[in-house]
């Protein structure tokens, strides 16, 4: 992946590939993968081409479903806010929700359902407590950034949360955090204080063992 810096952020295409690469790194070859809120299916297509996964996408948006079908990606058009009934227990190796959880209302239910249908979950989301977002709020405005690219009046996001908030919810739901990666806006891995320095977070989650 290319290395950007704060003065030279990644292009949209580079960011997309970067996100895909981070997720793909957690998906062993040949797995069965379910991607919730899969958009036009590009991630699944990438995972199929690079990892040989057998993937299904779930999407509610009509244009995105058309995109999936154009991308020759198996897609099921249902509203996951209503849960994943129909999907059988532990029928996938990994379930992914890539930058879509913040746009859904039924957060707890979706997290629970994800770990019902798959052994592990991969979740990525924008961190509302990222330094630049805090600065925007301090200046009196809702943040708009690479990872939060919408003005407040047009954002599809309905849940505004931070790494600290998400980890607290995982604790409450008995979800084990198996791995966490945070990146700044330039795509650089953040090691110090990710809740402050991370713009985008990736989690690998499972049921708490024992």
């Amino acid at each position: 992946m290319s290395n950007g810096n704060p003065h030279n952020p990644l292009t949209a295409k580079e960011r997309e590939r970067f996100d895909f690469a981070v997720i793909a790194n957690w998906i062993p070859p040949g797995e069965r993968v379910l991607d919730l809120g899969c958009g036009d299916g590009k991630l699944l297509r990438y995972l199929r081409e690079t990892k040989g996964v057998i993937g299904y996408g779930v999407e509610i948006d009509h244009g995105s479903v058309l995109g999936c079908i154009s991308n020759d990606v198996d897609v099921i058009q249902i509203d996951i806010e209503g849960g994943l009934s129909g999907f059988e227990d532990q029928s996938f190796n990994h379930v992914i929700i890539s930058q879509a959880l913040q746009a859904m209302h039924a957060t707890e239910r979706i997290l629970g359902e994800m770990l019902r249908v798959a052994e592990e979950a991969v979740v990525s989301f924008p961190n509302f407590a990222y330094r630049a977002n805090r600065a925007a709020i301090a200046e009196g405005h809702m943040p708009v950034s690479e990872d939060l690219p919408y003005a407040w009046y047009e954002t599809p996001n309905v849940r505004f949360f931070t790494l600290a908030d998400f980890e607290a919810l995982c604790g409450k739901l008995d979800i084990e955090i198996r791995e966490r990666l945070a990146f700044d806006e330039a795509g650089q891995l953040v090691t110090q204080d990710p809740n402050l320095n991370g713009s985008l977070a990736f989690y690998r989650l499972g049921h708490r063992r024992g």
């Binding site: 299904y56 079908i69 099921i76 058009q77």
Partner: protein
């Protein structure tokens, strides 16, 4: 009709199969004819053939027009043609009139070679399984080992599904639109009312009306009126007709008062003028009996285990005859079997009949799926 992207003037064909066919009911059909049309060209690898299956009242005239009949346009002409979603520049499209039909394939209006009279009520009941077995003979006749796709809406979708079960190795893509894996009690109830309308018509004569020189027009008309209600959505009917009055004021009579009454009578009259009542009875029974899970204690996933085709499944938001939940049953049974499936739930106001319309998004989805089918 615009001639643009039309397959143009087409000629229906007919083929005779002399080998008797054992039907699911146990009856033996001593050979039969199938009427069909084709559009496009079969490639040298014979890998670009698509079968279009028709629903209750359709037939083999799917696209184009007949010579000297410019208004006789095929029932799915908006889908099939050069440059259309089911592109005849790419695919060799085959459309067939089902066994028991009344448009040219052997059916109740055909002459029974054993008696020299029309079959009428003596024509055996045929099922979706029988239709597909007959289609397979046509495929053999045309030199098609494997369909690139079998596509159909409603009852046609059931045939596409049945193709994937009866001949899994002969179908690469099953496109099941506005369909269901079996009828619900409500669906059967509507069919039962339609049949009773025909069976109780004094001109029915136990199905041998042809011998009496009459047709049970009234019964067929009522059957179509009942059926037609289930093809439309409440909202669309409301929008199109509302409570509009045919004569501008209440008539205080049992003649046509509201526009919807006039519309239904028109649809019923039109249908009764060309469709055969026995074919209607047989077709509704084929619908009622279709249930691939029946032999598997109702377990659809078990029934679909032998299907290996890739599936395209689509439903329409306002279809209450075969609601989206019915399509999802198919989707999740396929998922259980780890089959490839793409499922689109399309917003369209026109109820069950949406599958016949050229809604822009619907056709874009079909086009995208068909474009990815290799030939």
């Amino acid at each position: 009709m615009s001639q643009e992207n039309s397959v143009g003037v087409v000629v229906p064909q007919r083929v005779r199969f002399n080998e008797p066919m054992r039907l699911k009911s146990g009856a033996l059909l001593p050979g039969f004819d199938l009427a069909f049309e084709t559009y496009g060209t079969l490639n040298s690898a014979r890998s670009n053939a698509v079968l279009v299956c028709h629903a209750l009242s359709g037939g083999h005239h799917v696209a184009g027009v007949y010579a000297g009949e410019p208004r006789n346009v095929g029932w799915w002409d908006n889908l099939v043609g050069p440059g259309k979603p089911l592109d005849t520049n790419k695919f060799f499209v085959v459309a067939v009139n089902n066994l028991g039909g009344c448009y040219g394939s052997t059916g109740p209006i055909s002459v029974n070679p054993e008696t020299g009279k029309r079959y009428g009520a003596d024509f055996p009941m045929v099922t979706v399984e029988d239709w597909v077995a007959a289609h397979a003979r046509l495929a053999d006749h045309l030199g098609i080992d494997t369909w690139a796709a079998v596509i159909g809406g409603s009852l046609g979708g059931m045939q596409a599904l049945e193709w994937s079960l009866q001949f899994p190795e002969r179908i690469r893509h099953a496109m099941v639109i506005a369909s269901a894996p079996k009828l619900s009690a409500q669906n059967i109830a509507f069919n039962a009312v339609a049949r009773q309308a025909i069976l109780s018509d004094p001109d029915f004569h136990g199905g041998h009306y042809a011998e009496h020189g009459v047709v049970p027009r009234n019964g067929l008309r009522l059957a179509r009126m009942v059926g037609h209600i289930t093809y439309l959505s409440d909202s669309q009917m409301g929008e199109k007709f509302g409570r509009q009055l045919h004569h501008g004021e209440h008539q205080f009579s049992y003649d046509v008062d509201f526009e919807i009454e006039s519309y239904l009578r028109y649809q019923g009259d039109k249908f009764a003028s060309f469709f055969d009542a026995n074919t209607y009875l047989i077709t509704t029974k084929a619908l009622d009996y279709f249930d691939p899970a029946y032999a598997y204690q109702g377990d659809l996933a078990a029934a679909l285990a032998r299907a290996t085709a890739r599936f395209f499944v689509a439903s329409f938001s306002t279809d209450w005859r075969f609601a989206p939940a019915r399509s999802r049953e198919i989707v999740f049974a396929l998922l259980h079997n780890r089959r490839h499936v793409a499922y689109a739930e399309i917003d369209c106001d026109a109820g069950h009949d949406s599958f016949l319309l050229d809604d822009a998004h619907y056709h874009a989805v079909l086009r995208a799926y068909l474009e990815n089918i290799s030939t």
